[in-house]
């Protein structure tokens, strides 16, 4: 009798730990996919995170940008660490999430708006040389007709809402 009671209690304890772990995981997932948390995650993403992998090595996007702009590693670093450009990245990412997740059609930025954002961010940063500013602005002009379509075609969806 005592032995069977002990077995039942042990089974209940294991079941309780198992279910509580699932409940905690579920609540964290629900919390993370809530809109406020998505915006919070978006706000911690910097240009460097988009240009490197988890080991800190530069990815193909970094080399594409570097080759297109024809710039050195130091100049690329300057652009990646630019506070003005990182602020602009947050604005663009927030706009993408708002458009794709919240279905807020007004939040979509046009090609001109995106171009102006890049130009103003680059111009406002005193650490970027005039030569580098010109390179960024000139190259932005080349891709400006596709940039909005490219950004807002990125597949963004909430977990469980695919």
């Amino acid at each position: 009798m005592i032995k069977s009671k002990g077995i039942i209690i042990s089974v209940l304890i294991i079941l309780l730990v198992f279910l509580s772990t699932i409940a905690v995981t579920y609540s964290v997932v629900i919390n993370v996919v809530s809109n406020n948390e998505i915006y919070e995650i978006v706000n911690v993403i910097r240009i460097r995170d988009l240009m490197t992998d988890n080991n800190g090595n530069y990815n193909s996007a970094y080399y594409n940008v570097k080759n297109k702009l024809n710039i050195s590693d130091d100049e690329a670093n300057l652009l990646m660490e630019s506070s003005k450009l990182n602020e602009s990245l947050k604005i663009v990412l927030n706009s993408i999430v708002s458009y794709k997740v919240d279905n807020d059609l007004d939040s979509k930025m046009s090609n001109d708006e995106l171009y102006n954002l890049i130009v103003s961010s680059v111009n406002e940063d005193d650490n970027i040389s005039n030569n580098l500013k010109n390179k960024v602005i000139e190259n932005s002009k080349i891709y400006i007709n596709d940039i909005s379509k490219f950004l807002y075609d990125i597949d963004v969806s909430l977990l469980g809402n695919n």
């Binding site: 009671k5 039942i8 209690i9 209940l12 304890i13 079941l15 309780l16 730990v17 279910l19 509580s20 772990t21 699932i22 409940a23 905690v24 995981t25 579920y26 609540s27 964290v28 629900i30 919390n31 993370v32 919070e40 995650i41 911690v44 993403i45 910097r46 460097r48 995170d49 988009l50 490197t52 992998d53 988890n54 800190g56 990815n59 996007a61």
Partner: protein, 104 residues
């Protein structure tokens, strides 16, 4: 909805455990062990999810995102660890009080 069902089942199991054990000291001891076990399992699950995110996303540096999520698991794990410690302290205190009463 799934959350409410889960919490309901957990509450039911807790009530069944309390009825089955029927010993205040043993209940406190078991809840202390339960909280410790839960905190370690939450740490483990959080770490597992962090590894999965880091390995699945290769085109950007996902460490900031995985750390953001992992910190939430760490926070909940620590809360459980503290609850487990409080139960353990309470258990030890009650044992001391009980022994003092017996000695008198």
């Amino acid at each position: 909805m799934i959350g409410y069902i889960l919490y309901g089942i957990i509450l039911a199991i807790v009530i069944i455990l309390i009825i089955k054990i029927n010993n205040e000291l043993l209940i406190i001891k078991i809840f202390s062990i339960l909280s410790f076990l839960l905190s370690f399992s939450v740490f483990f699950i959080g770490y597992l999810i962090k590894i999965i995110i880091d390995n699945k996303i290769n085109f950007i540096n996902s460490i900031v995102i995985s750390n953001f999520i992992f910190n939430k698991f760490i926070a909940i794990g620590f809360i459980n660890l503290i609850i487990g410690l409080l139960f353990a302290i309470l258990y030890i205190l009650l044992i001391i009080i009980y022994k003092k009463r017996v000695n008198k």
